[in-house]
Structures are given as C-alpha cells and as structure tokens.
C-alpha cells in the first residue's frame, strides 16, 4: 500500500500566490480566499480553502454550484507534518513572512458556503495540479484511512484540470480589456460561452492521450475568436 505523498518543495504546491493570482482563473478545488465567514464557525471572517471535488463543483452553463465545501485555513503553533499529521493539509509558504511555514487547513474544520460569497478579488492562492491531488489524497485518507496514489488521482481529475486550464485561457483572453464595472457580467457570459463550446470535448477529455489535441483545438479556436 502506498504512503501519503508530499511535495518536493512548497513552490510545487501552488499555481498562483499573492499578487500573481489571475482574476480570470475559474474557482477550483484548492483555491484560498480571505475574508470568508464559514457558517457554523464562531471565529469570524478568515482564510478558507475550497474543498469540493474539482469534478463536482460546476453545474449547467459552467456555473458554480450553489454551495461549496470549504475548510478554515489557519496558522498552527508549529508546522504540520506531511507524514503523521493526517487530519491536516499543510500549506507552507501560503503567504510570506513570519510563521509562513505553519499555514494549514484542518480537514475537520469544514463547512458549506454559498458559492456567491467567494469573491475572486479576495482570492490569495490557487493550488497547482500537484497541490490539488495532494489535497485530494489527504481528504480521501482523512475520511477513509485509505491511500490512493496521486498519479491515479491525477488521471481521474485530469479532465477537470484540463477544462479549468483552458477556461482560464479563454476567460483571460476575453476579459483582459473589459472595464471593471462590466467584468462580472462579461465573466458570466464568457463562462457560459466556454462551457457551450467545450461540451464537444468532454467525452474525449476522459482519455489522457487526447488532452494535447483538445488543448490544441481550443487554443486555435480561442486565437481565431480573439484576433483583432
């Protein structure tokens, strides 16, 4: 039986952090938001990480489902260990500064939140593909005491990771020059447009050997739609 895995360095965990976070990145499992009050918690607003599985967080039109599962992100007294502190997902260097090694999410401190309460302007980090499957591995282990290899989790979540990356490309290209006041409406319209366009690839996306041809086709289409 495999062991729970760990990243080779904190950098491996994150796709974006701090000022790097791309506004157009679709909300995804492993995104960390600030100023989130989790219902049922009496600790006020704080950091929260999205825990809903990547494959089940969106519904018709590519819109987020009404409620998402989130976990409270805190600084612990000492760094949580990848091997041993199984009720936690360590998030080292989530933010810079003193105690940055001690960021973590307790997989017991979770709650459901209305998706509309997550403000993309308050997103402070997005996990990398590797970070997402490490989180999934710890979540699965926490609830079942059973370990599934991250390579297998990656293959299972691959279609959602692929779609999120291409949606990010799509939204970024379409929203780059949109005025702030129009951004939310344009974001929703382009999310729906992408969802409708990408529907033709969802079945093929289940097969890893098709991912590169799907990327190629979507990016070619995107270039043709955004040519000026």
């Amino acid at each position: 039986m495999a062991d729970l895995e760990s990243p080779s360095s904190p950098d491996e965990l994150y796709r974006y952090r701090g000022d790097e976070v791309l506004l157009a990145r679709p909300v995804f499992q492993g995104d960390v938001f600030e100023n989130v009050a989790i219902p049922g918690f009496d600790d006020g607003p704080g950091l929260a990480i999205v825990l809903t599985h990547a494959c089940t967080m969106r519904g018709p039109g590519g819109m987020l489902k009404d409620r998402l599962l989130v976990g409270r992100v805190t600084v612990s007294d000492s760094p949580k260990r990848w091997r041993g502190d199984f009720a936690f997902m360590p998030l080292p260097e989530l933010t810079p500064g003193e105690g940055s090694a001690n960021w973590c999410v307790s997989l017991e401190d979770v709650g459901a939140l209305r998706a509309g309460l997550l403000d993309v302007n308050r997103r402070i980090a997005c996990l990398s593909d590797r970070g997402v499957v490490l989180l999934q591995q710890r979540q699965a282990h926490h609830f079942t005491r059973y370990v599934v290899e991250t390579s297998v989790l990656y293959e299972q979540t691959g279609p959602a990771l692929l779609e999120a990356e291409l949606m990010e490309d799509w939204l970024d290209a379409h929203l780059r020059d949109v005025a702030e006041r129009d951004w939310t409406a344009a974001h929703e319209a382009q999310t729906r447009a992408f969802d409708e366009y990408f529907a033709q690839y969802r079945q093929a996306a289940k097969e890893p050997s098709r991912w590169s041809s799907i990327r190629s086709a979507v990016r070619t289409e995107l270039a043709s739609r955004t040519e000026t």
């Binding site: 796709r15 791309l22 593909d129 599934v148 692929l162 289940k206 991912w211 590169s212 190629s216 070619t220």
Partner: protein
C-alpha cells in the same frame, strides 16, 4: 565433398583399450560454443559501444535542433508548444523549472532568461525529433504512462533528465521495463500503482483497485 560450416562428424570412436575417447562431436560442439561465446562477447561489446555513441549522438542532435529553435524566442516557442503541440502550462512550467505565472509573463512578452529560453527550445526540439521517428502526436505520447500500471509518464522521463531513453523508447530499441530500470532500479516497488481509473455507471471517471 566439402563440409558446410558447423557440419558435425557423427561417427565417434573408441580407443583400442575400450576407453571412450573425447568425442569429436563433443569437441566440435565445444569449439562452436566457444566461438559463439567469443562472437557474443564481441558483438555485445560492440553493441554497448554503439549504443553509448548513438545515445550521445541523439543528445547532440537534440542540442543542435534546440539551438536552432532558440532563435524563435520565448513567446513564439510557447505558442508552438501550447497551440500546435498542445502541451499543458503545468508541464511546460515544470520542465523549465519555473512557475505557471512566469510562463504567463513570457507569453505576454516579458523577457525570459537565456537558460529558460534554451529549456523551452530543447522541449520544442524534443517534440520535433519525436515527430520525425515518427510518433504521431509527440505531446500526447509524452502524457501517457511509459508502462501501464506504473506511475511515470514519458514526460516524467524527460523531466528526469533522460531524453535519450525517450528516443530509444520511441524507436522501440528498448522496452518500457528497461527504460524504467535505467531510471530507477527500484521502479517496480516505487512506481507500481495499486489502483486504476475506470468509467463508472454514471459515465463519470472513478477509481478502483487495479484489476
């Protein structure tokens, strides 16, 4: 009538004392076996030398093609890798050793260091050379596992610094098992997968113990 090479004398005799002499057949077989042994040693020595030189030549070719592709600059290389080849940003960033955010900046026209540009050019060159093998879709090939039931993908072999193994695999000169053995002698224990992905009754991907 002349004998064909390695034709055997099948009439062994005995001495006057009745003690059986070493059979001419045995002597001939022993001689042939020794000769085969010598030939085998020679060819395996030759094969090893040629193999080493061939791998070196492949790496030099990769480097030469990479130097040519380097002239295109980071922005065009990224467009080629992502649009024409269809690689994911995560894999490109990992191979170059930078963040996805750094890749985004280069796509937007910000300068990349010479070393990073060379890493991009090397990846583009690898795909060019694999396409010449021919591997129908080099990017797709890089994304699939070297051997079913084991974790490493072909991309991981490249990331592990062994493009030479990829060329040998693409040309079917070595088996996946040999490639994984060269990557890590403990590969069977280290990378064996106990689980597999399958399409469940709701038509979504799910996970089960490997059948």
């Amino acid at each position: 009538m002349s004998r064909a090479p390695f034709e055997l004398d099948i009439n062994p005799g005995t001495t006057s004392s009745g003690v059986r002499e070493t059979s001419p057949v045995s002597q001939t077989l022993a001689s042939i076996t020794r000769e085969f042994g010598r030939l085998r040693d020679k060819t395996s020595f030759l094969d090893e030398n040629v193999g080493v030189d061939h791998r070196r030549a492949q790496l030099q070719t990769l480097e030469l093609v990479a130097r040519e592709r380097l002239r295109e600059g980071a922005q065009r290389l990224l467009e080629d890798l992502s649009v024409r080849r269809g690689l994911g940003w995560t894999d490109i960033a990992r191979v170059v050793g930078v963040s996805v955010q750094a890749i985004r900046k280069w796509r937007a026209g910000q300068p990349a260091t010479g070393e990073n540009q060379l890493s991009l050019a090397r990846l583009a060159a690898l795909l060019d050379l694999l396409a010449d093998v021919p591997v129908a879709s080099p990017a797709a090939w890089l994304e699939v596992p070297v051997l079913t039931g084991y974790a490493p993908r072909h991309m991981d072999v490249y990331y592990g610094g062994r493009p030479d193994l990829l060329f040998d695999l693409a040309h079917l000169r070595i088996t996946p098992e040999v490639a994984l053995q060269e990557l890590d002698p403990d590969w069977r224990d280290k990378w064996k997968l106990d689980h597999e992905v399958f399409t469940a009754a709701d038509d979504n991907l799910s996970i089960r113990r490997r059948q």
